[in-house]
Symmetry: C2
Subunit: 855 residues, 2 copies
């Protein structure tokens, strides 16, 4: 069963029913102002930080689900007829707008909150925008929601068209519920919050602007507003007045009566509702611009008077000048359309850097549109705010952010560079890293701490990817602090050195890297023996015996240790002022360690038919045939083979065959098998989940592309593609009733084959799966690999893909690449045959290079 369809020309997913299995969402915003928006209009907005600057309120785990924000109501109005009076002198031909009116029928252009069945409904999630088309009783609406570029506001542009053939009066009410800024405090500190809410109202003959200024009196330098660019017949700012007793947002009193109360909120629950009355002639269309804006006065720290009208804090009237300016930028539909065109052009450019034609429309739409789009969303949001991440908790992950970068570096290399420097500054002097850092302060999060021993190596991965994409070796010379401490600055290359040496110097009894609190699998907590409910498995280390080792990190070290060596060899002498002998010494030392770790992985880390996962704090194997449960884990099979381990001697192929046999089902490859039926205190959180869910035997999509890449390493291109396809959302579209989550983006986890609900997806959008699947499909399946000095072509598509066309923008030049399966290898670049499979970087200023590869 599917609930919509892709419109690839428009780069949209078109949802055809409000009743998707779960709210299917989209993200608006590109810089600082962000919104979530579901296919029924749910969601919320925030400025930069979803916890500290939440603008509108959203109720997670609400009943009914997905209610409470971005509430629009359309009411077809009818005259009040007083049955008790016998005065029938009113002319029958009176215009519809005459006399007292009341709602005859009310609906929402987004279906929710009113829940009135619609005659027509369509939700189009596009690149940074969402459009709702609805029709009811001859009234057609189109609601377009987006955040313009360089703007701290969400536009809700509403077109209302009368197709009834008669004059009608239509009331339109738009409303939002304010969050009192700090989302955690907003949902818990009622003894204070119910007394703090404050609003202002500015109703003129041409517009109404409703301001939310809670705590502006004191330390905040920001407020929000919700406006409409037409005269209103009323407004409300007090939730209780607007909704009335016992009502939800589906049936507010004010909407039922058609009469706004012009209420002013004093504490309790401030909202903003703007009520417009339109008289529409037959065929007439009117357009309204609702604007949800955010204004701040950073200069108030120095000049507090700027916050206030006439500089008068005591009078307490806020300075509305910046709000007026923002309003004026979008106070006509023409201005809105122009901003919308700019937004579309922005995305055209972003996505245009990698476009493919393969003959498989599902593959094309994922690569060309949705996978790249999701990578941008992970850049913007990290793991902060989705329908599963409540925006209240964690900061940016060191590990997450480095991996996410692999997916967006080709679109926004400049911002990727900034991100690398931010991340590196949270590394600790010994080479380890804070596990998370706060995006607002960019400081390490002491609540979580460090000690996740895979973390530092991911920094090598992201820098290596950045160098391949840009060739910008100057980043290696950038002076970056450790632990954000002034005076600790060192060139970025020194950060990489410490990352690599941290692993070299933290190895266990088998010569394998120590795992620390956890490696990539946050739930494999080998030094935490927890018996206290609610205790964090990630932050408790109560039994660190110094022997728990990770074969997964071993694979990482082989892979990223080698990347580090290649960076030194390529840029050490030319860009880092290193003399040849110090480059040679360092490379020799690291490669010696890589060889040692390789040896350890292939002996202590090899179980006979697959790679062992780890050794626990008692020195016992994890992920081995000797275990009753959790005999095989996916991660070391993927990472070790990606690093090349066992590729020559066939053990890689053996390991991957075991993966296919023991972990793979139609929905993807599970993280381990058999799942743990009981709690293992020596393993940690991994064994807490019910069988088949999350880290206990779920299909953790993030690591599936590692297997796909690994299959390309051993030459099984068909299975490489199958691994890619099984978790790829576009291919799952026909099974949306089972998969549940959006068919246009990846989710973190799909319930595994041992679960009671195999195939059921959870935690869509904010997952490292986006970046890794894009790396897999672009660099390994399609095989377009940027390198330090050229673009390597090494496709591993199944043989049924006879012809591929790829457009790849790389270092300012657009490479137009045709790949054809002829059975004979050749590479022709701008008409010139080239040996090998690497296209040399074109001279600066070259616009296009035409490439033809035959294989």
């Amino acid at each position: 069963v599917q609930y919509g369809h892709f419109d690839d020309d428009a780069r949209e997913y078109v949802i055809e029913t409000p009743a998707t299995p779960l709210p299917w969402i989209n993200y608006l915003g590109n810089e600082h102002f962000f919104s979530l928006i579901s296919n029924t209009g749910g969601g919320y907005s925030f400025y930069r930080d979803a916890k500290l600057r939440r603008i509108t309120r959203y109720r997670y785990n609400s009943v009914p689900e997905d209610s409470g924000s971005r509430n629009y109501y359309i009411s077809l109005m009818e005259p009040v007829t007083d049955n008790t009076a016998d005065d029938s002198s009113a002319p029958a031909e009176a215009p519809a707008s005459a006399g007292t009116l009341r709602p005859a029928l009310t609906w929402s252009p987004t279906f929710l909150p009113s829940k009135t069945p619609l005659d027509a409904y369509e939700c189009r999630h596009g690149m940074g925008y969402t459009v709702f088309r609805a029709a009811k009783a001859g009234i057609e609406t189109e609601l377009t929601a987006f955040v313009p570029l360089h703007t701290t506001a969400e536009i809700n542009h509403l077109a209302v068209k009368n197709t009834t053939g008669r004059e009608v009066v239509v009331d339109v009410t738009g409303s939002v519920e304010w969050c009192l800024w700090n989302a955690v405090d907003d949902s818990s500190n009622f003894q204070r919050n119910l007394s703090t809410g404050e609003v202002e109202v500015e109703q003129t003959e041409t517009s109404t602007m409703l301001y939310h200024k809670t705590e502006f009196k004191e330390r905040r330098d920001h407020y929000a507003f919700y406006s409409v660019n037409e005269p209103t017949v009323g407004f409300d700012t007090c939730r209780a007045d607007f909704l009335g007793k016992f009502n939800g947002w589906d049936t507010p009193d004010v909407i039922a009566s058609g009469e706004s109360k012009n209420s002013i909120a004093y504490g309790w629950y401030p909202i903003a509702a703007n009520h417009v009355r339109l008289t529409l002639q037959p065929g007439e269309e009117r357009m309204l611009v609702f604007l949800l804006g955010y204004v701040e006065f950073p200069e108030a720290a120095e000049h507090p008077e700027v916050k206030w009208q006439d500089g008068d804090a005591k009078a307490g009237i806020i300075n509305k000048q910046p709000a007026h300016e923002l309003f004026d930028r979008f106070n006509t539909s023409e201005k809105v359309f122009a901003a919308f065109r700019e937004l579309r052009a922005y995305w055209d450019e972003l996505l245009g850097g990698f476009q493919v034609t393969t003959g498989d429309e599902r593959l094309d739409r994922m690569v060309n549109i949705w996978n790249q789009y999701q990578c941008m969303v992970t850049f913007n949001l990290s793991r902060s705010a989705s329908y599963y991440e409540s925006g209240m908790g964690r900061g940016m992950g060191f590990r997450d952010s480095n991996q996410d970068l692999l997916g967006f570096v080709h679109m926004i290399p400049g911002r990727a560079r900034e991100r690398i420097l931010d991340i590196a500054a949270t590394q600790l002097p010994d080479g380890s890293a804070w596990h998370q850092y706060q995006p607002l302060t960019k400081k390490g999060n002491a609540d979580i701490g460090g000690g996740f021993n895979d973390d530092p190596l991911w920094l090598v991965a992201s820098v290596f990817a950045y160098l391949n994409e840009t060739g910008d070796a100057s980043v290696l010379r950038e002076s970056v602090q450790f632990d954000n401490a002034a005076g600790s600055e060192q060139p970025l290359i020194e950060h990489l050195r410490r990352s690599v040496h941290y692993t070299m110097t933290h190895r266990g009894p088998h010569g394998l890297p120590l795992i620390g609190r956890a490696d990539w699998n946050d739930c494999l907590n080998l030094n935490c023996f927890s018996t206290t409910p609610g205790e964090s498995f990630q932050t408790v280390e109560n039994n660190d015996t110094g022997v728990a080792e990770s074969v997964f990190i071993a694979g990482m070290f082989v892979l990223y240790g080698e990347q580090y060596c290649q960076i030194l060899e390529r840029y050490g002498a030319t860009d880092l002022n290193m003399d040849d002998s110090s480059v040679a010494d360092e490379v020799r030392d690291v490669r010696a360690a890589v060889a040692e770790v390789t040896e350890a992985a292939m002996t202590a880390g090899w179980d006979g038919d697959w790679f062992v996962r780890a050794y626990d704090a008692l020195g016992e194997k994890v992920g081995s045939h000797v275990n009753d449960e959790g005999q095989i884990y996916i991660e070391p099979q993927g990472m070790c083979v990606m690093a090349g381990l066992g590729v020559q001697d066939g053990r890689a192929a053996t390991a991957l065959a075991s993966v296919k046999e023991r972990l793979t089902c139609r929905w993807g490859t599970a993280i381990l098998a058999p799942a743990y039926t009981t709690y293992h205190v020596e393993l940690g959180e991994i064994s807490t989940y019910p069988v088949g869910y999350k880290e206990n035997g779920g299909i953790f999509c993030h690591n599936n592309p590692w297997i796909s890449i690994a299959e390309t390493k051993v030459g099984d291109d068909d299975e490489a593609f199958e691994v890619y396809r099984r978790t790829c959302p576009a291919y799952l579209e026909p099974y949306s009733d089972i998969h549940l989550t959006e068919p246009y983006v990846y989710c973190q986890m799909v319930a595994g084959p041992e679960s009671p609900t195999p195939g059921q997806g959870k935690n869509s959008w904010l997952t490292g799966t986006a970046a890794w699947t894009f790396v897999d499909v672009s660099q390994f399946l399609l095989g377009i690999q940027p390198t330090f000095d050229g673009l390597r072509l090494d496709p591993h598509m199944p043989s049924r893909f006879g012809q591929l066309h790829v457009e790849r923008l790389w270092r300012g030049t657009r490479y137009l690449i045709d790949i054809e399966r002829t059975g004979e290898r050749s590479l022709v670049v701008d008409g010139q045959p080239v040996d090998g499979n690497v296209i040399p970087q074109a001279p600066a200023g070259t616009e296009e290079v035409n490439v033809r590869l035959t294989i």
Copy 2:
């Protein structure tokens, strides 16, 4: 406007409409299992800790409000008639229960969640129980909710009676939504939680028990269940299946269709719904016992196998034995009725220790019933869980807990003694105190820290009250740790000494006590100059200049320093093994300091017409006529006069006249005036609130009784009573539409005269107001004052109260006291005239003493 009435004989408040201005609630539970329950059945249950062991889910700030827990549905069923079939062979006289049935009409016996208008509705909040009586379509229901004594379960006993005169089939479905134990995690950590939910179902021919066992697999040793003692026709445990798409708890799919789905929750949102079908003859009544139970296995730490059926963790079936035992204790209405009678007897005894007859029924019901009841609720709940305290945040307050004790020590002196020792153990070695401690661990809360300089003196107040109530001087010898540190034990009297000396040694330039982070007014933060939004005013001390002083603490020191001296003089030699000279030395030193502080308060602390509030970190006066705003504060006027300052020289009366003139309105006495219109960085949170709310000019009910007591000190008994009356909820009952909160309990704050909404109450139930108003009315207005060795009678009632009768249980003897206004003072005890106004303590074993006082 009022929404109900008092039924004093039953000790109940009877709410006559579901549409109270706010949910009006009650508390169930007396030891470890607690529930909140509103007049529409809302609320939630928890075991001991509202954050860590929340059993059912509740959505604070929900829309619609007060939805989502304790959901009962009654459906009158009718046969499905198939209009398309022409088979009319079914006999017309078929019984109502024959054939396929569907709901003809559905309602909730608590009105919510279904919202169907009822023919009759009544909610009776009693002492530890709530009864809902409803009628609809000839079906009468009575739902009684209570937590039996010594039981970890809430009973919902439902009687259903058919008064239609014909046979009917009635479907009854009871349901709860499970919280995944940790209320904070439950409302934020969805990426994990949506995969963890697990249930078991045990449906037999006589009952159905639905078990919630999330995380039982791993570290939890507890589960919950929801059962009914009748056969069910179906059940549900999966919320999405039960509710269906887009529905709230008002219109679940299963209720609309009348067909349970027997759903099993795998993750997502586990619930429990039990569906019973009753066929009722005319006049027949049936009774159902729904039980929400909690079971734990503390022995599992040593013997983990006890958690599992047959000790088999791998099979994963929970050990249901304790649940079955709990179920069996209440599996008939007779057993339920017996438990209900026990509960009522328990409360009769608790409240019976203080009963008054004054001729003013409002006064009597507050003293005899509701004020004492509220004091017990503050004992049980502290500030953890109400409709304003989300149960997620704070622990027990050092200051709060000591003051709460003043209100319940006469009812449960033994538990008061335990509480004192718990509190004292969180004192720090230097005499200061952790500001809060966690009830589960009893450790100080390091997130909040200490440095609230009033805190330690409140320990003297509670111990003094305990000694007056019990005469049990052994408590002073109890060995108590400092900061819960082993080896730091000292007798309790040493804790008192350090409390008093902490103030003596922490005084500022005027000789007044330093305020620290704040004193009683948590929002007067004189050493915190905060400019960062969201930063806690209580924990930041960034500008402690060492000069910010509190006149309020000065008053406290005079009052409680003297009490400490009296304790030493009375018990030092006899009970504490102190020699006379060390008692004398200590008393001399303390009284000398008291004299110094008195002098400072009457000079630097005196503003001319009232007491100054404080000196800020810049050495400027706070609460003085020299200020533009915040010229006069209530707290020092109350506390200093209670301590006797200015009583002799008339300045106390002057200060109180200023209070009346400048702070008092019909709704009570505001905390300060004029309210602050702008933020004062040097004052802190107090100036953040909108004008007239909370600490910025609201009526903070807690301190109103101080003024009432102070008025008795200066002899204005009429105003003393008026101050009491203005905030007393029973007197506000006619104004419930303005006051909003429950007319049977105090709220923390009423919007002040400068606010836009004067008289509007907030934050009802969990406030120190309960204890202090009870101290005021019982000890100062009625004037029954326990002392170390006798019961002092010193009534200060207005002259219109000609006769008073008080029954006071004190140290095992019931004193039956008649007070008559004759114009002549005399005291007769058991027929014997007594000099003065102190009834000597009766000999042990004396059951009753008859007392007659004339004044």
